[in-house]
């Protein structure tokens, strides 16, 4: 699967021109210079800006304030709430995407009639723009005449009243989470499907001959053989969920009273609404460090797990 090899490959090649001279640099120059200017340089710039009280308007001075923006963050209840919301979103969406994605992949791994169609239907939300699906879910979850409330209240009678999904903090986070799971399941499904098709039939057949039932065979044969894919999907979903932005930004705008801010929506508001670039950069940099830290720990954990199995 291309997915894991992208990160794992280090430069190598069967046969290369040895006396390359300046030729490779000509091939590299346009793309790599653009990349340095617009991606690498801004990384350092983001760190630099976070040490300043940044003057946004022409002529207004920027003053160096050291770690002040980071100290400010530690004492900012909205930052902690935004971080908590992003963490809750992660805890809600990552396991559900893995479970549902894997379940659908298991159902589709055999060549059954209609497999291509089902695969496509599950994948359509993945390719649809976040803006469109966020607006759509805002509409479906609206309080007085929304589709979801109609189903729960008038049709199934599960709720005695119409629920104000996007009016308060936790129902809003649940709604944003439901959207995240709904949109993301197709992605993990396809990755798992590719991995499952690589599991040799002989393994599961051998387990069946040894008397293992379907559950037993799933947990002791199938799951261990897709272990690498499982860790890849988990790491990717964790990174993606901590970076949640567009859905929260469009569905609640962080409101009411900044109750539903996630880290990036708070960063966006600080930077482009209050024009506080210094604080915004500190928020962005903090999130990046958290994401890198968690990814690093996960990679160590999963690698440990893999070697343990090999031994």
């Amino acid at each position: 699967m291309a997915s894991t090899s992208v990160l794992a490959n280090v430069p190598h090649g069967p046969s290369k021109s040895s006396k390359a001279g300046f030729v490779p640099y000509i091939f590299l120059a346009p793309g790599f210079l653009l990349f340095l200017l617009t991606i690498i340089y801004p990384i350092f710039r983001a760190l630099q800006i976070s040490f300043y009280n940044w003057g946004v308007f022409p002529g207004s001075p920027s003053t160096f304030v050291g770690l002040h923006q980071y100290v400010r963050e530690m004492h900012d209840p909205v930052f902690w709430r935004a971080l908590e919301n992003a963490a809750v979103y992660m805890v809600f969406t990552v396991p559900l995407q893995i479970i549902f994605g894997l379940a659908v992949a298991m159902l589709l791994v055999r060549k059954i009639p209609g497999r291509g169609l089902f695969r496509a239907l599950f994948y359509i939300p993945v390719v649809t723009s976040w803006v469109v699906v966020s607006l759509l879910f805002k509409f479906l979850f609206s309080t007085d005449a929304g589709f979801v409330n109609w189903v729960l209240h008038s049709f199934l009678h599960l709720s005695s009243h119409n629920i104000g999904w996007l009016d308060t903090r936790w129902p809003s986070m649940i709604t944003i989470g439901i959207l995240g799971v709904w949109k993301g399941v197709g992605w993990s499904m396809l990755i798992f499907l590719a991995a499952l098709m690589g599991v040799p039939d002989s393994l599961t057949e051998a387990a069946a001959i040894d008397g293992a039932g379907p559950w037993r065979s799933f947990f002791s044969v199938t799951l261990p053989s897709i272990r690498l894919t499982l860790s890849f999907v988990t790491i990717m979903l964790v990174i993606g969920s901590l970076n949640v932005f567009t859905s929260a930004f469009i569905m609640t705008g962080g409101g009411p009273q900044q109750q539903t801010e996630v880290v990036l929506s708070y960063m966006y508001h600080q930077a482009f609404q209050f024009l506080d670039f210094g604080y915004g950069s500190a928020l962005a940099f903090t999130l990046a460090i958290i994401v890198f830290g968690i990814s690093f720990v996960q990679m160590r954990l999963f690698r440990g797990g893999v070697t343990r199995v090999v031994r």
Partner: protein
């Protein structure tokens, strides 16, 4: 015994399909409702019970969007930005991938790791410095500003994907061209690119969709209504005081139909390039 297991197989099969159909319905019903709503006059948007087949279907949302809300113009902006970005992102990353796949050169490892960093950094983290950069380059409120940064953000992933593909192309083919006196650029243009059509298609589709759906960067640098792309235009329709959901969903339908068509036509290329989605967050 055999009869029993056969019965069990049928039960499994039925259960499998029921589960799949329920799942697929959950995925698709929101889109059907969106589509239905786009044909309803404003008066009937919030019907109880909800109607999936409008009783008084109308095309007025579509004509409204297209004419009085200059949606055609935004559509053209989106096509322009996405197409140009895709072409340049594919070409520049193919050139880089060729250098990585076929040459040994000084700084190769450092450049490779820098690209990897670019692949892992969450895009929004760079929003503020990129905004300042765009401001310095006078690219605020400019479609070129969108294109430049869309090309840049797609370079790293495309380069990795294409490098892997180029390395699979037998070196002997290039050697034969070298015998005929062909330089590196000829080989790249006449041999590598034509042979890599499937990989280029994957890269192209992913880049195009990423640009077509991009929201945050456009939201940040575009204020001039004349320069809006589709995602911005749609979100602005919703932001108006009394939301005309019919209009929002007519616009959304216009924006997502090309995506679904492209997806249906190129499913295989999609699956090959999967990890792009996750890496772009």
């Amino acid at each position: 015994m055999i009869v029993g297991s056969k019965k069990r197989q049928i039960t499994f099969r039925v259960l499998r399909y029921v589960t799949l159909i329920v799942g697929a319905a959950i995925m698709i019903i929101p889109f059907l409702y969106l589509f239905a709503t786009s044909f309803k006059p404003q008066l009937y948007l919030f019907e109880i019970p909800p109607q999936f087949i409008p009783k008084h279907p109308t095309l007025s949302n579509y004509t409204d969007a297209w004419t009085s809300n200059s949606f055609g113009h935004y559509f053209a902006n989106s096509v322009f930005v996405s197409v140009i970005s895709t072409v340049f992102a594919a070409l520049l990353s193919a050139m880089m991938a060729y250098a990585f796949a076929r040459f040994n050169f000084k700084g190769q490892n450092i450049m490779f790791w820098l690209l990897l960093v670019g692949l892992m950094v969450p895009g929004m983290m760079l929003l503020i410095p990129q905004y300042l950069l765009a401001n310095q380059l006078h690219l605020i409120n400019s479609l070129i500003g969108l294109i430049l940064f869309y090309v840049a953000t797609n370079l790293a992933f495309n380069t990795f994907l294409l490098r892997g593909f180029f390395e699979e192309i037998p070196w002997e083919l290039e050697e034969a061209m070298i015998m005929d006196g062909a330089g590196a650029f000829r080989r790249f243009w006449r041999l590598i690119l034509p042979l890599s059509r499937p990989a280029l298609a994957t890269v192209g589709i992913f880049t195009f969709l990423a640009c077509w759906d991009e929201y945050v960067w456009a939201l940040t640098i575009i204020n001039d209504p004349d320069k809006r792309t589709l995602p911005i235009a749609i979100s602005v329709f919703q932001g108006q005081h009394l939301t005309n959901w019919g209009l929002v969903f007519a616009a959304s339908t216009i924006a997502i139909v090309p995506v679904i068509v492209v997806f249906a036509l190129f499913q295989r290329q999609f699956i090959r390039g999967l990890s792009a989605d996750a890496l772009k967050g």
